[in-house]
């Protein structure tokens, strides 16, 4: 799973959000390291909706502008959970090996 996909799914994990909300949340989640621009965001949302991982929750008009809220679907949540588990396993392995290195366990 590519990083923008992971971050978008993470941004939608707790609650539905609109496009600009996802952008801001992704920036916050990544500690300001990732800026998700509109072109990237909507190309990703287009694919995520096709895959059935994300769906439209509701629409609102704020200051004359359309805001469409997106939510994480059950298949999307399952896929995100699987990715989190995969990353956790990798992180654990990296952590263990670094610790072994520091204690002189490996050459």
């Amino acid at each position: 799973m590519r990083e923008p996909t992971f971050l978008i799914l993470t941004a939608l994990a707790a609650r539905p959000q609109h496009g600009y909300g996802i952008q801001r949340d992704v920036q916050e989640i990544s500690g300001g390291r990732v800026t998700l621009r509109a072109g990237t965001l909507y190309a990703a949302l287009d694919r995520l909706r096709e895959d059935g991982w994300v769906d439209v929750d509701r629409e609102e008009v704020v200051d004359g502008r359309l805001r469409r809220y997106y939510r994480l679907t059950e298949p999307g949540a399952t896929r995100l959970a699987a990715e989190v588990e995969r990353l956790r396993a990798h992180t654990r392995a990296a952590h263990n090996r670094l610790r072994a290195r520091l204690t002189g366990g490996t050459a």
Partner: protein
């Protein structure tokens, strides 16, 4: 409307129609919400929007019904190298009528061998043959590297010949277009392993057999291959059989074979339509332009879907 908003409007207008209808207003809202003090869209933002539009156009180019396209590309990754090899028939025809000793002899042009004049594309077809074998053994990454090398090779053919001419590129527009499509499929799709799951051994064998029969028919045809009406018609018919045999199992398969069949067949048809041997530029424009139009028209852009 401010200059900034106008700029965003112009960029969003480049997106596929269905996407604009569904998300255009929403995207403009997001862009304006995130806008700072700029009078015009920034460079990074512009590049990002252009790239996003290109990706969505490409995605829709192979999607007639809005379903995921990865399986189409996976089938293309497996069958594509074979379809590209159809273009090798001319070189094989030339090879059949020339002795190896004469091909390795010196050319009239200083510093060049004779094969560089009569068979400048031979090394490229060897590369594509290797790509087809690698795809058959499901070695996606190696095959992808080979396919990109083969595509660059296609573009280099005019410069291998002692007297560089762009005519080869015009005559082989189908192979070049198919080469780019196959290289992209091998690079970004789930690959030939998934393609094999979808296509199966029996259909792959039928497809490979039809392609091989077409190439052989071209190669043994009397005279130069594109001068023979019979073999051109035979080729189109045989590729039609391949489409039916390879693509009948599902909509995915049909689209995959269609993606590859059209670029390979159309230049042959076009060459016969334009029997008068037009100038290279006209021929190239016809081959590449018509290909693009027909492929886009057949594969289609989906209309807006309700949300």
């Amino acid at each position: 409307m401010t200059g900034l908003e106008t700029g965003y409007h112009r960029l969003v207008a480049l997106y596929p129609r269905d996407h604009r209808e569904r998300h255009g207003e929403e995207m403009l809202g997001v862009l304006m919400d995130g806008a700072t003090e700029h009078a015009r869209p920034g460079l990074r933002e512009t590049v990002d929007l252009l790239w996003g539009a290109a990706r969505l156009h490409l995605r829709r180019m192979v999607t007639a019904d809005g379903k995921p396209t990865r399986d189409v590309w996976a089938a293309v990754a497996l069958l594509g190298p074979l379809a590209v090899l159809l273009g090798a028939a001319g070189a094989l025809n030339e090879l059949r009528t020339s002795s190896p000793a004469s091909l390795l002899g010196p050319s009239l042009s200083p510093g060049a061998m004779r094969w560089q004049g009569s068979l400048p594309d031979l090394p490229v077809w060897v590369v594509w043959f290797v790509v087809a074998v690698l795809a058959l053994f499901r070695l996606r990454r190696t095959a992808a590297v080979g396919a990109w090398l083969g595509t660059v090779g296609f573009l280099s053919v005019p410069f291998i010949a002692p007297d560089p001419s762009m005519r080869w590129l015009a005559l082989h527009a189908g192979s070049v277009v198919a080469g780019v499509v196959v290289a992209a499929a091998l690079t970004w799709s789930p690959g030939p392993a998934r393609g094999w799951e979808l296509v199966g051994a029996k259909r792959f064998t039928v497809f490979a057999g039809v392609v091989a029969a077409t190439v052989v028919l071209f190669a043994i045809a009397p005279g130069r291959y594109h001068d023979s009406v019979l073999t051109s018609i035979g080729s189109v018919l045989l590729v039609g059989v391949a489409v039916a045999a390879g693509g009948a199992w599902s909509r995915t398969g049909y689209r995959a074979v269609l993606m590859l069949g059209l670029p390979v067949v159309l230049p042959v048809v076009l060459l016969w339509t334009l029997r008068i041997d037009p100038k290279t530029a006209v021929l190239a424009a016809g081959c590449y332009g018509l290909l693009a139009v027909v492929v886009l028209a057949v594969i289609g852009t989906p209309r807006a879907r309700s949300v």
